[in-house]
């Protein structure tokens, strides 16, 4: 197995990582639920956003790290960036991009977006952010994500790392806690699950401080 910075050839797999990680172990794809668009259409929007090459947010190729198997196929990946480097939060950047590419859908989805925003947890400025962590189903149980997280943290020389995840994604939460992350904040809104906007109603912010 080979850990490397992502290249354009990995983009299809990266889009898979984003879609599957957003499902957070469940069946609901939040962007489809919020904006009423099919996953296949959203794949293209993600690609359009990557074309903009906007840094300091997760949908930028430069921030992606990939595990390739012996055949050179991408089998695990994650996005890693330092929050707020240029003075704007990654959530604000992502919202601006989504609004730009989904102008009409955004207007008709405002109420759902407000419900989703009710469990948003501000990311810590200056912390290394890990997002969209995903391992292909055929390659789980081999410690690939653990190795990838360790490698990315070591290479960023940042004493603080942060992951946000749905509490309902028990396997992911267990892995992150096993790796030394601990829950720093929890935000819940039962309306989210009732409206089928996410696979769970509580979001966790996990933090790891290291030397």
């Amino acid at each position: 197995m080979n850990i490397k910075k992502a290249e354009p050839k990995h983009l299809d797999f990266i889009v898979d990582c984003i879609i599957e990680s957003e499902k957070s172990g469940g069946s609901v794809f939040p962007y489809s639920a919020a904006f009423g668009i099919e996953i296949v259409d959203f794949r293209q929007i993600i690609r359009d956003i990557f074309d903009e090459e906007i840094p300091d947010q997760p949908w930028c190729l430069d921030h992606w790290y990939i595990v390739e198997n012996e055949l050179g196929n991408a089998v695990a990946g994650l996005s890693a960036w330092i929050e707020g480097l240029n003075g704007t939060s990654s959530d604000m950047l992502k919202a601006q991009m989504l609004n730009f590419f989904l102008k009409q859908e955004w207007e008709s989805s405002k109420e759902k977006l407000e419900v989703l925003a009710s469990i948003s947890i501000p990311r810590n400025n200056g912390f290394l952010q890990l997002e969209h962590l995903y391992t292909h189903a055929n390659f789980r149980g081999q410690g690939l994500m653990k190795s990838l997280i360790v490698d990315v943290i070591q290479n960023h020389n940042n004493p603080n790392a942060e992951i946000q995840v749905l509490e309902s994604n028990k396997n992911a939460v267990s892995l992150y806690e096993y790796m030394g992350f601990s829950v720093n904040e929890r935000q819940c809104n039962e309306a989210i699950e009732r409206l089928s906007l996410l696979s769970g109603s509580c979001k966790l912010q996990l933090i790891k401080h290291h030397g």
């Binding site: 903009e52 906007i54 003075g87 939060s89 919202a95 601006q96 991009m97 609004n99």
Partner: protein, 82 residues
Amino acid sequence: MDRDQITQELQPIFAKIFRNPEIQITDSLNAEQVAGWDSLTHLSMIADVESHYGVKFKLKELIGMKNVGDMIDLILAKKGAA
């Protein structure tokens, strides 16, 4: 149209969006200084500003805005008054 005029015109827009009639508009004002200025209210504010001035910001312009002063610069440039 000049900078002072835009600053005055932005006041009621910001007051409505951020539900703060007393909000003071300055060039250095940014999201960290205003209660309720999150990604959703930010985009509502941008939509109102675009509508008020009949302008359309490009994505790179939106991303590059760090404070109200940056936005005023863009409005002036788009209205040909920079």
